[in-house]
Amino acid sequence: MTIPTAIEVNCTTGEVIERPLTADEIAANEAAAVQAEANRVVAEAEAVTKAEAKASAESKLAALGLTAEEIAALSK
């Protein structure tokens, strides 16, 4: 397995240093990746819930007699 690296560009000397990540940095990155995926799952679930609530509300408004244009105007 390739060890992840970090790059440092020294703006004064122009030197570019590439070094392998430390064990602590690798562990932190792995934890961050797990958290990013968990955040994505939560965000997608929230988006689905929000979309379902919006569709339900629009359906109820239509049942009350509002036109599609009137319903769309409410969400502007």
């Binding site: 992840p4 690296t5 970090a6 560009v9 020294n10 792995e30 990746a33 797990v34 990013a36």
Partner: protein, 174 residues
Amino acid sequence: MANTYNLIASNVLTTATASVTFSSIPATYTDLVLRISTRVDRAINGPHNCQLTVNGSATSDYSQTNLAEFGVTINSTRASAAAFITTASTGNSTTANTFSSNEFYFPNYASAANKTLSLVDVVENNSAADFESAIAARAGLRSNTAAITSITLNTNGYNYMVGSSFYLYGIKNS
């Protein structure tokens, strides 16, 4: 461009890397501009949040306000007492060879005042079947008066892919 807009340093990746740091930034300019174009090796069809820190510090003194659009959803968010500034990169399930476009502006980076920045991110997927894209305008603050001498961009658990580019410019007011 006027000669007040000078390239300080740049790097275009030839190997994937988890983070890129510009260090020993000279204090001889008025403002800094950081322009990056990146893609991250995370299998996601859309933006992946990366992190920016300055002076190697991840203390909780960063805050930011975001106005963002992802797909057809527009939202505004606020983060305070954070350990970094959030910025978006293109994920690796988007159209091949597409990269984000991000511009950071750091006014008065060498002053003895708290450090502000503005940031615009754009992530796009050039697919006829899927137009998932994102744009964000962000206002950032680091509540610390130290001059900015280094800037680090971190992928938050992944790698910037080959071809990602990083350019740091200095702006002079004369």
